[in-house]
């Protein structure tokens, strides 16, 4: 498999701050690669270097085996880019801005194929192309860049938080477009902090923190590293064999609930449900024990990307304590919904 984007030990300094601190990233052809991290982690800086808008302070970056700064113009013929915060020209209509960007990328003035594609996307994104740029909301400005990017075929799509400001319906349209270009064999680098989006779209994920990639792999590989959460009703049904214990204290009930389950962690009973976590590759091992006690309301949740993410970022928000982590988790969820 050929590599489309490769960076090694990439460093970018702005004055004293190191926006990138030895970033290693590899994106192979045909992949939809999630580039994950919170604001300020270095995602946009990496993208600016890959686009030749900024120069690396040290380290190597290559796109299609070419130098992104020196060979910028040649590379950009093969790349479509959507920034996270799209600006449009205040006195150009949305339709004009789309045409202009598309023409810069090689669409001809009278190209029927391009026009049809633009019309299709305008329709799909429910976009009004006749308004002047200053009249567009954030979501509509985002649509300008998305339509311009998808209306002209590219080999590599670099998308920097492309769905910020889009409503859920439009996010669905966006995902369809990603599926379309992936089917056509294009490579996608999708920077995001919306975990559900990455989870649904991406083949591989790189998690970036403080200018370094701290984790990279397929979602399955990353999930391996974390535990699966198991929960079931802890009420009368739990430990049905000895119902007499039901009136005992919580501790006794908890002990009873988890009796006979080996290799489990974080066991607790709360709000009428017993919960524990187990290493993801040992889930099968506990199933017979659960079956034998005839549990009700069983739920087995594979680790979400959110948990992967929190493994790397949780300590930034709280100091390891369970409550802090839970609060952080709620926090991230809120962020993800934005």
């Amino acid at each position: 498999m050929t590599t489309v984007i490769r960076t090694s030990d990439l460093v970018k300094r702005y004055g004293r701050t190191r926006a990138l601190d030895g970033l290693d990233l590899q994106v192979d052809a045909g992949q939809v690669h999630g580039f994950l991290g919170p604001n300020g982690a270095g995602k946009s800086t990496t993208i600016r270097i890959l686009l030749g808008l900024a120069r690396a302070s040290s380290g190597v970056a290559s796109v299609f085996d070419a130098h992104p700064w020196r060979d910028a113009v040649a590379l950009h013929r093969r790349i479509a880019y959507v920034p996270g915060d799209v600006s449009v020209w205040p006195n150009l209509s949305g339709g004009e801005a789309i045409d202009f960007l598309a023409r810069l990328r090689g669409a001809a003035h009278r190209d029927a194929g391009y026009r049809a594609e633009k019309a299709r996307l305008v329709e799909a994104f429910q976009f009004d192309p006749r308004k002047k740029g200053r009249a567009y909301s954030k979501g509509n400005r985002q649509k300008v860049a998305l339509i311009a990017a998808f209306a002209v075929p590219a080999e590599l799509y670099i998308l920097d938080e492309p769905t910020s400001g889009l409503d859920p319906l439009m996010e669905l349209v966006f995902r369809r477009e990603i599926a379309r270009v992936r089917a056509a064999g294009a490579t996608v680098l999708l920077s995001s902090h919306i975990l559900s989006e990455v989870e649904q779209l991406c083949d591989r994920v790189s998690i970036i923190r403080a200018g370094r990639v701290v984790e990279s792999g397929t979602l399955a590989e990353l999930r391996h590293l974390t535990r699966t959460e198991v929960s079931f009703d802890a009420g009368n049904g739990a430990g049905a064999a000895d119902g007499a214990d039901a009136s005992d204290g919580a501790d006794a009930s908890a002990d009873a609930a988890f009796a006979g389950l080996t290799g489990i962690h974080d066991a607790a009973v709360a709000d009428g449900r017993a919960r524990f976590t187990v290493d993801s590759d040992r889930v099968a091992g506990i199933l017979p024990a659960l079956a034998s006690r005839n549990v009700r309301g069983l739920r087995i949740e594979p680790p979400s990307l959110e948990e992967l993410f929190l493994r790397h970022y949780g300590d930034e928000i709280g100091d390891g304590a369970g409550e802090a982590s839970a609060a952080a988790s709620a926090h991230t969820r809120e962020g993800a919904r934005r």
Binding site: S44, R48, L51, G52, L53, A54, R55, A72, V73, A74, H76, R77, I79, Y81, P83, D85, V86, S87, V88, W89, P90, N91, L92, S93, G94, G95, E96, A97, I98, D99, F100, L101, R103, L104, R105, G106, H109, P129, R130, K131, K132, R134, A135, A145
Partner: protein, 539 residues
């Protein structure tokens, strides 16, 4: 009340440096005028001569005030009052738009209007802020004149006259901000009203009736249509008339009330001049960086070109009037002769007016290059440069369009000059003089173009401020250098002062080769350095 206090405090804080520059600059202009008059027109006889010349050749009044006698103080105000008032007017008009329409456009007004401050309190705060700034200007200008030993009452009238014009234009800015959808549009409307009334006042004075001793002129009705005319008719030090200043106050109050009334009628962020629907598709021309820059710049280029056309027309049509002057006044003749390198008076007029054309062309060029910086901070440059467009080609588009913009302004001025010659039946050779001057000023404008581009490449943050300051300094040196008899080498630092001129015996190229060398070297350097420049992150 505390809400209003907070709004006012925020305005003061945002504007503190800008207001210091405007008010301080106006005071400096007053001080410079006092010094210049004492140095150049020290004796009463000198001044009487000049005023007689003005009465005989009213064209001069387009760039000066209203003659009210040859006393030192009244004469000083004749020279400088319109410019003091103009500073106050620019300051106030921009201030009004900045705190109203610009805030709305950027969405800040929405944040404020959602608090208990509501929609009206910010407007009240802007009015108080603007009036306060003008009062400060009045006090400082009065102090400058009184400090120079001029009569206290006249000094106060002078300060208030300048501020009164400022307050009228505060009202103009407020109304423009209500009418127009964008701050750019509102500022343009304000500037057009300002230039129009300034010209009306000057023309009205030129058409006025001189007294028998030629030391004083009564304005014609045209002057009375302009706030500048009202301020001049207060005649500080001569009459100290309050009536015309009261007229300023009344008009300012009416305009302000109108602004409040209009604001009540419209939605936040709405306007009375509706936004037209845009095109569904881009025209064929909009397919390259060059096409984009031209599209962005063309509206303002047309505006500058209209200015060039009018200035060019005045250069020859008014120049012809000079021919009719019987009396020879040494001081005036000296001034023109110094500018036209010993050519005729008519040629001198062409040179003076085409200095202004040069400044207009420089403005058009500088504005075009500063758009590159605006594109960069706004974030639109990033999308263009992420397409297959090289950095050098991108900057080159701005340079080329800037050069075209300057050329269009100069060409319009030459056309205007030709029309002026036709209309007045003046000497046809004046059109040739205008062509020489216009072509020369294009070279001067190109110098500003490449200097601004160099600033953009090297220190992007300073692009807009430094670009305009360069033009302003060149204008002041070019226009006031000869008047205040600055050393030649100082005046000649201004590109607009060293362009070729037609003289009695051919063309004096003056500093043309220097200008062209600077343009070539500066342009090459800017483009060369652009190869290595990163795009600044948008903010």
């Amino acid at each position: 009340m505390s809400t209003l206090g907070a709004l006012l405090g925020q305005r003061l804080r945002r504007d503190r440096w800008q207001l210091v520059l405007w008010v301080g600059g106006t005071a400096l202009l007053a001080i410079a005028a006092v010094g210049g008059v004492q140095q150049s027109y020290g004796t009463e006889a000198d001044r009487q001569e000049v005023l007689a010349a003005v009465a005989a050749n009213p064209v001069i009044m387009l760039f000066r005030g209203l003659p009210s006698g040859a006393e030192l103080d009244a004469f000083t105000l004749f020279l400088i009052l319109p410019f003091l008032a103009m500073m106050a007017a620019f300051m106030s008009s921009f201030l009004a738009v900045r705190h109203t329409r610009m805030d709305e456009e950027l969405g800040r007004a929405e944040l404020v209007a959602a608090t208990p401050a509501g929609r009206t309190a910010p407007l009240v705060a802007t009015v108080l802020h603007g009036v306060g700034a003008n009062l400060a200007l009045a006090v400082l200008v009065a102090a400058c004149f009184a400090g120079a030993g001029y009569a206290p009452l006249g000094s106060i009238v002078s300060g208030i006259a300048a501020a009164a014009v400022g307050i009228v234009f505060l009202g103009v800015g407020l109304v423009a901000a209500q009418l127009m959808r964008t701050s750019r549009g509102a500022n343009s409307l304000g500037v057009w009203v300002l230039l129009g009334t300034f010209l009306a006042s000057g023309l009205g004075n030129a058409l006025g009736t001189p007294a028998s001793d030629l030391q004083r002129i009564e304005s014609s009705w045209l002057t009375w249509l302009s706030p500048f005319g009202w301020a001049e008719n207060a005649r500080p030090f001569a009459d100290d008339a309050w009536g015309p200043l009261a007229l300023c106050a009344v008009v300012a109050a009416v305009l302000t009330a109108l602004a409040f009334a209009l604001q009540r009628l419209r939605d936040l962020d709405g306007s009375f001049i509706a936004e037209r629907a845009g095109r569904l598709q881009a025209p064929a021309s909009l397919g390259s960086p060059l096409g984009l820059v031209w599209r962005l710049a063309r509206g303002s280029v047309v505006g500058w070109a209209i200015g060039g056309l009018l200035t060019g027309a005045l250069a020859t049509s008014l120049g012809a009037v000079i021919d009719q002057i019987g009396t020879k006044i040494p001081a005036v003749e000296e001034l023109f002769a110094a500018l036209s390198k010993d050519g005729s008076l008519e040629q001198g007029m062409v040179v003076i007016f085409f200095t202004i054309v040069g400044v207009l062309a420089a403005c058009a060029a500088v504005q075009t290059v500063t758009r590159a910086r605006q594109e960069e901070t706004h974030g639109t440059a990033e999308q263009v440069l992420a397409a297959p467009v090289g950095r050098v080609r991108w900057l080159l588009a701005f340079l080329l369009v800037g050069l075209v913009a300057a050329a269009v302004v100069c060409a319009a001025a030459v056309l205007g000059a030709w029309l002026g010659v036709q209309a007045k039946g003046a000497d046809a050779s004046l059109a040739w003089d205008a062509l020489v001057a216009g072509a020369g000023q294009l070279a001067a404008a190109a110098v500003f173009l490449v200097l601004t581009a160099l600033v953009f490449v090297l220190t992007p943050r300073l692009t807009i401020a430094l670009g305009w300051v360069l033009v302003l300094v060149a204008l002041l040196l070019g226009m006031f250098g000869p008047l205040f008899q600055l050393p030649d080498w100082v005046t000649n630092l201004s590109p607009v002062a060293v362009t070729p001129v037609a003289t009695a015996d051919g063309v004096d190229v003056k500093g043309l080769w220097w200008l062209l060398a600077i343009v070539a070297a500066g342009g090459a350097l800017a483009l060369g350095l652009m190869r290595r420049r990163e795009l600044a992150a948008g903010d």
